[in-house]
Amino acid sequence: MPHQMLERSLELTFPEGWVGYPEWSRFTLEELPDGGPVAMLQSQDVEEISFLVTVPRLVCPSYAFDTPPSVRQLLGLSGDEEPAALCVLVVRQDPLVITANLLGPLLYNPATGLAYQLVLNTSTYSAQHPVVPAGPR
């Protein structure tokens, strides 16, 4: 698989933490061997905390949102720079269902590693966007 969208071993810092988890601050975005479009977001503070993430447009090609000015400032984006985005994947078993949190994307500035979890002020996108049909395989 080509490594088409994920940075290699990028350090991400969430100055304000994640929604509901203000203590989640320092993470490393790690490619998985053979992971293709999926990467791991590993906490540097707590070993047990890690997430599967992917690029939102891979699960929803039309995905788009506006970045509020305050968030642009926090990320250190200048001019018309736009943040990169990731979404968390949640895997549920029996039956196997994978959902993507498109409501709360993780935005980051690839140049600085500053990151922020935005909650979109819209009901257009779901926090449990189905990535694949439910069912065993």
């Binding site: 969208m5 047990e48 891979l58 949190n101």
Partner: protein
Amino acid sequence: MLILSRRPGESISIGDDVMVTVIGVSGDRVKIGIEAPQHILILREELREAVREENRAGYQVTPKEIRAAIDFLQRLLEPPSREPTDSR
């Protein structure tokens, strides 16, 4: 929690910058107008709660889950070849 009664058209100010106005009441729905500086994010609480819940559900990924996710996504997602880093 501070609890105040307001009639339609009446407002509450919060600090110097935020004004909350009851626009109208219809049945069990209250229409609220909010004026606030741009840097204050205003959200319906259930959206924030939905994101918080997925954050809770998403961490502590097991190797089995990783493998399952990779297998599914590699089969079903054909990554676009253009715009290599623009993921917005």
